[in-house]
């Protein structure tokens, strides 16, 4: 295993949404979770995380609320909206179709 792979452009949104589909979470937690879930392969560029969160919030896919974090610190928790959930499903399906297609191309050649 070499360096952690950079995220493909545009996939960060998908990963954030997927992470939030499980439970509401703050920024730090999202970054950690993505790394864990991908078996440390995907390294989130932490600087890019927050603009992405703002963008998703603006688009109405996620919403934010302040809450207590695990060690009693105030943190901003993001959660998926209904529209976001639908968007995620759609995008997930798209992604799967795309990756399957790419896989197919790679295997046949």
């Amino acid at each position: 295993m070499g360096k952690p792979t950079d995220l493909v452009q545009g996939t960060l949104d998908l990963l954030i949404l997927k992470t939030l589909a499980l439970e509401p979470m703050h920024g730090w937690g999202i970054a950690q979770r993505i790394r864990q879930m991908s078996n440390e392969v995907l390294q989130v560029n932490q600087g890019a995380l927050y603009p992405a969160l703002h963008r998703l919030e603006q688009s109405g896919w996620i919403k934010a609320k302040w809450g207590e974090s695990d060690n009693n610190r105030r943190a901003k928790y993001y959660s998926l909206t209904a529209a976001g959930r639908k968007y995620l499903e759609r995008e997930q399906a798209n992604w799967q179709r795309l990756s399957a297609a790419i896989g197919l191309v790679l295997e046949t050649s």
Binding site: G27, Q46, Y50, G60
Partner: protein, 909 residues
């Protein structure tokens, strides 16, 4: 519904900025702390752990900026910042700002003023219910009364009634008299004083069809359409209610007496409703069924051939104009057939074959003004557009010049990280501020100018009632023009200014610092200005020369020293009988006897007051197919030719021997004599009015007078015949007086004389015959004056541009000029060097402008009179004028260059 979610978010980002920013900081700090903790847990020293965390996360400020971008508030935020900064910049160079804003105010103001007028005359919808569904039968070009068969612009009362009953395509049909009965005289509440008032006769269905609800009282209904003479009621206009009655809330029930009929006021029209004819504003509306009482001279309710009405109808909801048109034409044919009887004459059949009623959209009302002023207004719109373009070029040049001085500032800002796009946006904001300032001032300027314009186009003593107040459309137009202006003059300078070589720009000094291409661009702008000014000047020359030619057209009468009065025998109860004729004779005699009065006469019309045209039949001759046999007829008193100064060529004019019982006589003009009585003197020949050969010996020609212009200066030679009022008793409203001396005393004398004849007779002074002639070419005058004004303005602006460029070039080249002079170049050589540069630009401008002007000239050829669009005199004069001004503008800088002291110049820098 995602935007429902977004709006509060964005508003929050904008207005609760500090708390949003605070949250973001907290969030980032938390993240950073966790990273530090994690690093420390791995055993890294605290200081080191912090740096590592920062490296991993990235700079918090950059992240914040990115987040702000994501929230889209940056646009607004930056914009506000740009506005603040822009205002500061504009304050810093007040000279440039003032010049720019002021010239923009002129340019945008002129555009707004012309557009306001265009809007009022051509674009504004009638303030009625759903105006888009209203149609006019015919084109509304004719006015008055027509007794022809199958006429498609004017209709009789019975035609209107039948069409209303039988059509299947209109939800309602209304009609109105095609003329406003202007200048009637009536008494309010039965009082003794007669007041001037304008009356419009309309059908009972007029207000319901338009969907106009009265402010007070009620409007007419269908019931008012009959019986004839049975409904002495009136609806008055809001402005008259305000002006005359001080908004009396109990107005209904008060009365207006016209002639011998007392009309009860039953309602007040809403404030915005001025009627259906743009450029007219009746004081009161009276049912058409009262036509005989209101206007005994215009009485044709039961005459199928007295076709004097416009018909305005409202389409049923699902009906298209084409369907309606088909139905109307079908019905009209039936109705006409019915009127003419079973057998049509050949002429009638021919008329019927050609008759086609076109339905014209009536959403913007009727207006003959529109026919007259559409083209001039469009031309003027183009003219002021070009002037604005020239002003834009000037300001662009100013900004380019200023860019040089701002280079260091720009370079510094770019060096510390400002993006080019951001800088361009910032500079455009500055331009926008200038043009909005100019636009705001321009609207003020326009509100004054558009009233002045209305006064110019008004043909009567009072300004035309046109609503030129800026409405939504005008303001939208002005905003759009301001915006377009800012983009036009701002973009190129902004792009140029921000294209700087950082390193060289940051270095002190100016010599080496040049903005790429500034010179070429500025020169191109000058060429453009010269070309556009040339186009405008040539246009102005063409219009002025046309006007001069029109003013020198031989009218056939002497327009000087004639005063024109209007009399109103109808409203003081005169009938069409011997008493009326006696009134006319008494008036003529008493007025003629006044000192200073040379001659006086009653007449049906003078110049451009209307016309009565009808064919004539000549004894023993067949129709001449090449002419349409129409002759202009006029009814006059014996002193008419003396008053108008129209020379008698053969025979005699009318005299006391021509009475009611004597043989019918006429005086004809040369053209009629030539066309109808060729060979020999026509005196003693006979003809008749109409096309019935039975009447061909009704009237005897007793004299021939010189041709004159009757309805306009541009008209061809018309055959004309005059009859004495003694033999055609009727209401004639004109009294003309030829005088010598002070017109003011004459006016008083005429009034005095008239009141001695009949104390009650309203006599109003209208204008002089010369004014009457001038007003007939109002649109020509308007366009000539304004295009001359704007042409000169354009040249002035172009000269400022040339002067600015040359002065700037000389300043920049002071050093070089010094070197040249030190090396022996003489003053005249330097002078020529600078002058030559501007002459080249001028030549280029002329070369571009000339073909453009020729092309533009063809577009306006309809407005020209007596010359071609390529009139060499106009072309040469414009080019010379432009050349003279431009050379003068560049001479000053050139002179300054030639006076450069080499010693000073070499030390310069």
């Amino acid at each position: 519904m995602r935007w429902l979610h977004k709006v509060p978010l964005r508003l929050r980002s904008l207005f609760r900025k500090s708390s949003v920013e605070q949250e973001l900081s907290d969030e980032l700090r938390l993240h950073l702390e966790r990273l530090v903790e994690e690093n420390m847990a791995r055993g890294v020293a605290p200081e080191e752990a912090r740096y590592a965390a920062l490296r991993e996360l990235g700079g918090p400020d950059q992240i914040k900026e990115e987040c702000r971008d994501m929230r889209r508030v940056n646009y607004i935020d930056n914009f506000l910042q740009d506005v603040r900064y822009g205002l500061r910049q504009l304050r810093r160079s007040p000279g440039i700002t003032t010049v720019a804003v002021f010239s923009l105010a002129l340019g945008i103001g002129a555009n707004t003023a012309i557009f306001s007028l265009m809007n009022a005359v051509m674009l504004r919808d009638l303030p009625v219910h759903d105006p888009g569904r209203l149609v006019l039968l015919g084109k509304g070009r004719a006015g008055g009364s027509d007794d022809g068969f199958a006429v498609t612009d004017l209709y009789s009362y019975s035609f209107y009634r039948e069409l209303r009953q039988k059509n299947q395509v209109f939800s309602d049909v209304s009609s109105l008299l095609s003329l406003l009965l202007g200048g009637m005289h009536g008494a309010v509440d039965g009082g003794p004083a007669l007041e001037k008032m304008d009356v419009q006769l309309v059908s009972g269905t007029y207000f319901p069809t338009l969907g106009v609800k009265p402010t007070l009282g009620r409007a007419f209904t269908e019931a008012e359409d009959e019986p004839a003479g049975g409904h002495p009621v009136a609806v008055i206009s809001y402005s008259w209610w305000k002006r005359r009655f001080g908004r009396d809330p109990s107005i209904t029930g008060r009365t207006v007496t016209l002639g011998s009929t007392v009309y009860t006021i039953i309602g007040v029209a809403p404030p915005e409703f001025f009627g259906t004819t743009v450029g007219q504003s009746p004081d009161l509306w009276i049912p058409l069924s009262m036509q005989k009482q209101v206007s005994p001279g215009w009485n044709g309710l039961d005459n199928k051939w007295f076709q004097s009405l416009y018909i305005v109808a409202r389409l049923k909801p699902a009906v298209t104009v084409d369907e309606a048109q088909a139905n109307v034409n079908l019905l009209a044919r039936q109705i006409w057939h019915e009127y003419a009887g079973p057998v049509l004459t050949r002429q009638q059949q021919q008329n019927l074959d050609h008759a086609h009623i076109q339905l014209t959209p009536a959403s913007r009302g009727l207006s003959r003004l529109r026919f007259e002023f559409s083209l001039p207004l469009q031309i003027l719109m183009a003219v002021v557009g070009l002037v604005l373009l020239i002003a834009c070029a000037n300001i662009a040049n100013l900004l380019l010049a200023r860019a040089t001085t701002r280079q260091r500032e720009i370079a510094v800002r770019m060096a510390i990280g400002a993006g080019r796009a951001r800088l361009v946006r910032q500079m455009l904001t500055e331009s926008l501020l200038m043009s909005l300032g100019g636009g705001a001032l321009g609207v003020l300027f326009a509100s004054w100018a558009s009233h002045a314009l209305v006064a110019t186009v008004s043909t009567g003593p009072e300004p035309l009632p046109l609503n030129v107040a800026p409405d939504g459309r005008v303001l939208a137009f002005t905003s759009l023009v301001s915006l377009a202006t800012a983009i036009t003059f701002g973009t190129v300078p902004a792009l140029r200014t921000t294209r700087v070589q950082l390193t060289s720009a940051l270095k002190e000094g100016r010599g080496a610092v040049a903005i790429a291409g500034r010179g070429a661009l500025a020169r191109a702008l000058i060429v453009l200005q010269v070309a556009l000014s040339l186009v405008l000047l040539i246009g102005a020359g063409l219009f002025l020369r046309s006007l001069v030619k029109l003013a020198h057209v031989d009218t056939g009468f002497n327009k000087e020293n004639v005063l024109m009065f209007g009399i109103d025998p109808v409203d003081v109860g005169y009938k069409e009988d011997a008493r009326l004729v006696n009134l006319y004779q008494q008036l003529e005699q008493r007025v003629s006897a006044e000192p200073g009065v040379r001659a006086a006469s009653i007449s049906f019309f003078t110049f451009n007051q209307g016309a009565w045209d009808d064919p004539v039949v000549v004894q023993g001759s067949i129709r001449m197919p090449e002419t349409n046999n129409d002759v202009l007829h006029n009814v006059i008193g014996p002193g008419y030719f003396a008053t108008m100064d129209i020379p008698l060529l053969v025979g005699r004019v009318f005299g006391p021997q021509d009475t009611d019982s004597s043989p019918k006589v006429a005086v004809i003009n040369e053209t009629m004599a030539r066309q109808y009585f060729p060979g020999g003197s026509p005196v003693g020949s006979r003809f008749g009015v109409g096309d019935d050969p039975k009447h061909s010996s009704d009237i005897e020609v007793v004299g021939v007078v010189k041709d004159a212009k009757y309805q306009g200066l541009r008209e061809r030679r018309w055959p004309a015949a005059y009859y004495p009022y003694t033999q055609r008793v009727g209401y004639y409203y004109g009294l003309e007086v030829r005088y010598a001396g002070d017109p003011r005393t004459i006016i008083a004398e005429v009034r005095q004389a008239a009141s001695e004849v009949d104390r009650t007779l309203p006599v109003t002074y209208q204008n002089t015959l010369a004014e009457q002639v001038d007003q007939s070419i109002a649109s020509q005058t308007l366009i000539a004056r304004l295009s001359a004004f704007f042409g000169l303005l354009a040249v002035f602006l172009a000269c400022i541009g040339i002067y600015g460029l040359m002065a700037y070039a000389v300043t920049r080249r002071t050093n070089e000029i010094g070197v040249r002079m030190a090396l022996g170049a003489g003053r005249s050589k330097v002078l020529w060097m600078v002058l030559r540069e501007s002459l080249i630009l001028l030549a280029l401008g002329l070369a571009v402008g000339l073909p453009a002007a020729l092309a533009a000239g063809r577009l306006v050829s309809k407005m020209l009179f007596g010359l071609s669009p390529a009139d060499p005199l106009s072309l040469a004069a414009a080019a010379l004028l432009l050349l003279a001004f431009a050379v003068a503008a560049s001479y000053l800088p050139a002179l300054r260059a030639s006076r450069v002291d080499p010693m000073v110049a070499l030390r310069y820098e």
